[in-house]
Symmetry: C2
């Protein structure tokens, strides 16, 4: 008998991994990835860096937990009951929007494949591909391609965010890159030249979705079957 009491709260402001991760996310969101140090975090929590290490193994552990939090929220908020193709697109867009809102998540995803968030994403796409009519033998490769697309865009988005962190205008920033591209040798870079003009006005989100659709189209074409699609 004698069931141990749950540990009572030590103080109302007691430290815990949840509180630490929450504070870290706040700092990352408001001041960018560069602003998260154990010192700013300790200051934000009114404690010392040593105390944080009691709850968190190291910075990677902390970032992994924060990333998991964000991704888990995305997976939980997904609308159910949609047709297969729409379900896949909704998942992809949910991930994109989360990464767009928290660029540091993009950095983490694109450099940490052991992250607990990855199986979640994998499961999300993989299980929905079943309903899309993809035979079992082709599911692994098809899922990987979709996941890679998400992670690839995540990394580029995060990199862009790091760049125009100080800048006000996003279009102006893309304009600068377009100008650099336009200054390349037209003989060696004809395509880049032609495309540079579209750079400042293009919509990342839309282009991301076009990519998802291209991949889905390729999956369909590679796996013609009797299953209902749409």
């Amino acid at each position: 008998m004698a069931i141990k009491k749950q540990r009572a709260v030590r103080r109302t402001d007691a430290l815990s991994k949840e509180r630490i991760v929450e504070a870290a996310i706040e700092i990352l969101d408001s001041d960018g990835e560069g602003a998260l140090t154990f010192r700013t975090l300790a200051a934000h929590l009114a404690t010392g860096s040593g105390a944080i290490y009691w709850h968190v193994a190291n910075k990677d552990d902390l970032l992994a937990a924060a990333t998991n939090d964000v991704i888990a929220r995305v997976m939980a908020d997904l609308p159910g009951g949609a047709r297969p193709r729409e379900a896949i697109r909704a998942l992809a867009l949910g991930l994109f929007d989360a990464i767009d809102a928290h660029p540091w998540v993009g950095t983490q995803l694109s450099r940490a494949p052991w992250l607990a968030a990855i199986p979640q994403i994998f499961e999300g796409f993989g299980s929905r591909l079943e309903g899309f009519g993809v035979p079992e033998g082709a599911q692994f490769d098809a899922t990987s391609t979709l996941v890679i697309h998400v992670l690839g865009v995540a990394g580029q988005n995060a990199a862009n965010a790091r760049l125009h962190a100080h800048r006000t205008d996003r279009t102006a920033f893309l304009g600068e890159i377009a100008q650099q591209w336009a200054q390349l040798d037209p003989a060696r870079y004809p395509f880049v030249h032609r495309v540079a003009a579209q750079l400042p006005e293009h919509d990342d989100r839309e282009q991301f979705l076009v990519g998802i659709d291209l991949i889905l189209g390729g999956i369909e074409a590679a796996n013609p079957g009797p299953s209902p699609r749409t």
Copy 2:
């Protein structure tokens, strides 16, 4: 008149950006990304860190130059004259193999979109898509999707390399991840469970190429036209 003499070589072992980049690549390749510091680099070149900064703006600049070197070599070594689809696959495989041989290139590519290497890759895929029969309006999105796939795989590859840097066996490493995946709740992760078994034995290079083919298939399906494909 009096044409200025070209600067004579100061000493045979004079420092230069080329020599610095070359040394950096050696360190990165043999000892991994973590091993490249301005101190190890200075020791390798038998000089001081200050001297390096005379030729190189900062570490980002150095890494960008090193990455450019590798990518430029890939673009130069491509076989010409192949049919469009094969040309695209050859380019993709060339990039994959380079990133596989130099994982640190993957890290750079997936976190630096302003890199001079990116327009090169863009041009490589974009110009070849023309021959593939993609109408001009669709070329930007199609190219982006291919580039994103390469950059996405680059990032994941680099992350994997960072992980089993110390380990001997790659299959054993994948086996560990597969085991982690297999320990997830089967009710919530049925797909991940089914796929975990394929993880240790799957071939990254082959799966990368399947992704390229899926995207190409999607591009074909989205742009039916009279142009010769194959």
